[in-house]
Amino acid sequence: MIVLTPLKKFQFPVHAECINPDVFKGKSVKEIAALPVWEGNKKKKLSDIFKIEETPAETPDITINGDATEVRRVGQGMKNGEIVINGNAGMHLGEKMAGGKITVNGTANGWTGSSMKKGLIEIHGDAGDYLASPYRGSTAGMRGGTIIVDGNVGGDSGCYLRGGTIIVKGNAGPFLGFHISKGVIYVEKNAGGRLGASMTGGKIVVSGAVDEFMPTFTVDGIKKKVKIDDDFKAEGPFYVFLGDLAEHGTGKLFVSQPSNPQFSAIYDKYL
């Protein structure tokens, strides 16, 4: 396996989509050292900005030890293998990932797992905005795979989701699951405003509080438990909402009943 250590604290954005097990595979350390990266507007070699070492261990294929907050596009499009980042990760981590595993022992930045298709991303800290969401102007959201975030996630996470699972153990920012059509999003704590706005299908489950709730959902009942994936069912009871009505949507929004006493006055009369 290859261990990369940043040679300094980066001020300028570093574009390093070459940090990808598929790219490293079959290359010698010397060849890896020569891979192109950009630091600001200067083209450089990977070895100009990282110390590169090879260790005999089999997995993970690539380890980054240190702060990679400014290092973008690590694991972009990767199909196989494993990357571990012991530190913070930069934007577009695992964007369009199609397989393999990425672990971040730190926080991840915006667009982590953007439009991902397959594989697993585990963030042990927080994640930034646009987790799993597609590029500007595109509606090609995450299609498959799993993202697990131990901490909080930013705004606009899981936009246009059309498959796969996102599990957030902390709080979620606004516009979680905007316009999703399929797939599952689970938030263990609280969710921000405009939760599930414009959703047409899929499933969003929130175990915590929802302080601002879209008026365009209709309450459909109460459910005790909700299945998140094969191994896990979230414990309720949950209000079950259907929507978003503005899109003639048939998405399902499960919101914890005990965590949201304010809903009782509005919705209990319909139950």
Binding site: P134, Y135, R136, G137, S138, A140
Partner: protein, 564 residues
């Protein structure tokens, strides 16, 4: 004095009736000449290569408000196709709506030297010209949209053809335009209040005029003005199943306009106007009916509007049609109506082989191009970017010149479309000579551009040289090799300067913008009337409306003497 001698190539110059003859082409100061000094002239050894006039595109949306709005709303389109800066060329983005510089480079790499921007809202004419200035390596012209302009509707409604002609002359000069563009006549004014016209005899609300009267009226006006190109028409009901009947009716209606045996109307992207069937479920090709009509009449020319299977962007002044596409697709939708003049719309579109409708559309374009016997009547276009980006032209060349190529694509299409396609029954494979007609000679002739599309003495020295040896390469069999050759011209020569070599831009030169200075008898009177009515019709001042001279970087005005 710069001289250039292209030696020993196989020359295809249909306007001069040269069909693959091995000969030299001499160039001096940007023009084709009889001969140059063999010692002094720079030489290009074209032995074993195909030499053609620079290619011409009669219909391609490359500049102006609509095009640029398309760019702005589609970052996801650009991000997959980026173009780096080099020592010679600017950076940019490509795919369905390339940035201006990239547009110039990509056309030039394929041997194109002249292109027509067919759709310009007069109010936005300055914008169009500013963008044209930033498209290098090509000569360009642009057509103002005039079919639904209030002055046209009012004058034609009154039956005042001469008055209409004078206003159009005013507009041609004011917008530095080249031809009369008509889109869904009557439909665009109706769209101002969200309505449309559905036949050529529907009455336009508030104006008491029909599409038939608009089209025939403007065809007559075009003749009165002696404009080099005919009226340039996008038909009513475009893109709707069963519309071939409207197209036939339109063509028949135009038979009433005197034509001296010459074309009086160009129907553009005819593929989109040749749908049979009643709905999207049973939509099928009307190529047979349309091409039969074309083969029996001489008053019209056409271009294909060939579908390419890719993700592209539709954009047209046909606002109501784009609205229909919005209803069908739910995709992001731009509508842009322009006061007193026209409308417009944009919808991204992914044409898929596995869609029965798209595959049928793909088939229709090729069917018509191949069923029309006379290549001087129909030209190769994709109505860029509507049916596909222009840089897919070499693919169309392969389909036109090789049955093997088109059958290979058809085999991957939706089964229903395969079954209905006429392509298996068509054996015609275009020769390089016919191809030269469809891609340059015929287009230049239809446009009335006398210095373009040929290599005769006096022509502009716009030349394309391709790495194709017609004696050794059978393009019908080795269509992939030919496609590569058309993708990357061995040389493109613009005004006598080598601008592309081996598919790379080697020199950056500005092309010209060609426009018509139409001289009429009562110019002043029209000026006065326009001044009077201006405030009532528009929200800008009369003084600020025209495209002033400095908006055109390298102008080439063609003076036209009108009969009115």
């Amino acid at each position: 004095m710069t001289e250039l001698l292209i030696k020993n190539g196989f020359v295809f110059d249909p306007l001069s009736e040269i069909n693959g003859e091995k000969m030299d082409i001499a160039i001096r100061d940007g023009k084709i000449v009889e001969s140059v000094s063999d010692q002094k002239a720079k030489k290009i050894d074209a032995t074993g290569l195909t030499v053609m006039p620079g290619a011409v595109d009669i219909h391609t949306h490359i500049a102006g408000g609509e095009v640029n709005t398309g760019r702005m709303i589609r970052p996801e389109d650009h991000v997959k196709d980026v173009v780096r800066k080099t020592a010679i060329t600017r950076s940019g983005t490509g795919y369905s709506i390339p940035s201006t510089f990239v547009t110039g480079y990509r056309y030039s790499k394929m041997g194109y030297t002249t292109v027509m921007n067919p759709s310009m809202a007069p109010l936005g004419a300055k914008h169009t010209h500013e963008e044209l200035n930033d498209i290098p390596l090509l000569d360009k012209a642009t057509f103002p949209l005039l079919g639904d302009w209030w002055f046209v509707l009012e004058n034609l409604q009154k039956g005042d053809l001469a008055g209409c002609a004078q206003h159009i002359a005013w507009m041609m000069e004011t917008t530095k335009g080249y031809a009369i563009k008509i889109v869904n006549p009557g439909g665009l004014e109706s769209w101002g209040f969200g309505r449309n016209v559905h036949s050529i005899d529907d009455v336009v609300p508030n104006f008491d005029i029909t599409p038939r009267e608009i089209v025939c009226g403007l065809a007559k006006v075009n003749k009165m003005l002696n404009l080099p190109h005919t009226i340039h028409l996008h038909t009513n009901n475009l893109g709707i199943p069963g519309n071939y009947l409207t197209t036939l009716e339109t063509m028949k209606a135009l038979e009433s306009v005197p034509n001296d045996g010459k074309p009086i109307c160009h129907i553009t992207h005819v593929q989109f106007s040749s749908f049979a069937g009643e709905n999207w479920g049973n939509m099928k090709s009307a190529a047979d009916e349309i091409s039969r009509y074309i083969n029996n009449h001489n008053h019209m020319t056409f271009d294909m509007g060939q579908i390419i299977f890719t993700d592209t962007t539709t954009m047209t002044a046909d606002g109501p049609f784009e609205f229909t596409l919005y209803q069908l697709s739910g995709h992001k939708w731009v509508n842009s109506d322009v006061e007193t003049e026209t409308s417009g719309g944009i919808i991204p579109m992914h044409y898929k082989r596995k869609s029965a409708v798209n595959a049928t559309q793909w088939s229709i374009g090729l069917e018509i191009a191949l069923l029309v016997k006379d290549p001087w009547k129909i030209f190769m276009t994709t109505d860029h970017p509507n049916a596909g980006p222009f840089f897919a032209y070499p693919k169309i060349i392969a389909w036109l010149t090789s049955k093997k190529a088109r059958m290979a694509t058809l085999a991957k299409c939706h089964k229903k479309a395969q079954k209905k396609s006429l392509l298996p029954s068509i054996d015609r494979e275009l020769s390089l000579y016919e191809l030269a007609i469809m891609t340059r000679a015929g287009q230049a002739k239809a446009l009335g551009l006398t210095g373009k599309g040929h290599l005769g003495v006096g022509a502009d020295a716009d030349v394309a040289i391709y790495n194709i040896n017609p004696e050794t390469l059978d393009i019908a069999k080795k269509y992939k090799t030919a496609r590569k050759a058309f993708d990357n011209a061995a040389y493109t020569i613009k005004d006598g300067k080598v601008v592309v070599k081996d598919g790379e831009v080697v020199q950056n030169v500005d092309g010209r913008t060609i426009w018509l200075d139409v001289k009429t008898r009562e110019q002043l009177k029209v000026d006065e009337e326009m001044k009077r009515k201006f405030k009532e019709y528009w929200t800008v001042e009369y003084e600020n409306y025209p495209v002033f001279d400095h908006y055109v970087k390298v102008p080439e005005a063609i003076t036209v003497k009108a009969d009115v």
